[in-house]
Every structure is written in structure tokens, then in C-alpha cells.
Symmetry: C2
Subunit: 95 residues, 2 copies
């Protein structure tokens, strides 16, 4: 099982557009066979900062997600909306 | 309902000690009446980076957590373990 936390930051003034793109990714992502959980959060005070908290069956599932047509389409739409490339990191839950 | 995502970074060489302190907070935090969920994650590649993903009934519950004896004790123990003050931000889930 693999956990990912990603941070995605909008260019100033493009927050609402990026929110639309990220939100539209939710149903297609959650229907991927290796997706156990995928949540999207928006910073309440710095509205350009989005965080995804993700759970995948394994690395192959996370890789398949990044290579999926819906992510490719979202990245193409988001080119001008991002302040920087998404920061994607693997995490382990501490129990 | 209130969501918090916090980032807590260890000084170089103090990662394991900080992990112990943060892990020991879990049961007391989860037993707080206003705590709906509280997960602790450690970056798999940058082991000094910890993230909590939290769900509280309201702001008062999150404030009560930060003022609790177990958090005060943890902060006292962690003084020398932190690279910087914890970064604590309110988030909204995007559905």
C-alpha cells in the first residue's frame, strides 16, 4: 500500500481555474482500479494551495494514475495555471 | 467541521526522536472529544518531514487540542528537535 501527499500551487489569479481542473479529476481518479482513496483539499487562507492525500494499492497503481489520459489532459489544461510543478511525495503512515 | 494539515520538520539527525514524540501524541489526541480523525505521516524519502491530516468538529476543538496538556508536553520535549515551528493550516475539502 502506498500513500502520496501532493502539493499543487496556482499562479496568482488562476486559483479558481486550477480548482476546476483538479476537481474534475476526482471521479476518474477514484474509479481507477488501484485507487484506495483520493482526497483534494484547498488551503482556507492561501487559496492557491491545493493538497491531495492519496492511497494506492502499490507504486504501479500510482504510476498508472500519472500516466492516465485524464491526468495528461488535466496537466495540459493546467500548464498556465501552475506556479511551479506539483510536488509529489511518498509518505508512510505512523501508527 | 474543520480540517487541518500541519507540517512538522525535524532538525537533521533528530528525526527518530521527533517521530517518537509525535507518535506518542496519537492516542491522547484521538481520544479528545472534538477529534474526528487524526493521521500522522512521515515522508518516505525526506524522513524529517512529518504531516498530520486532521479533522475536528470545529475551531474550538482544534484550539483545545493545541492547548491540551499532551500537546504542551510534546512541544516542550520537541523544542530541540524541530527545524522550524510547525506549519499549521486550515483546509477545506473539495468535493
Amino acid at each position: 500500500m502506498l500513500r502520496i501527499i501532493a502539493r499543487i500551487c496556482a499562479r496568482a489569479g488562476r486559483e479558481a481555474e486550477l480548482r476546476v481542473v483538479l476537481r474534475e479529476l476526482l471521479p476518474a481518479t477514484r474509479s481507477e482500479s488501484g485507487c484506495l482513496a483520493y482526497q483534494l483539499f484547498q488551503n482556507a487562507d492561501r487559496v492557491g494551495e491545493f493538497v491531495t492525500v492519496e492511497q494506492w494499492t502499490d507504486q504501479a497503481a500510482a504510476d498508472a494514475h500519472l500516466a492516465s489520459p485524464h491526468v495528461a489532459a488535466a496537466l495540459a489544461r493546467a500548464t498556465d495555471l501552475l506556479a511551479q510543478p506539483p510536488q509529489i511525495h511518498r509518505f508512510d503512515e505512523v501508527n
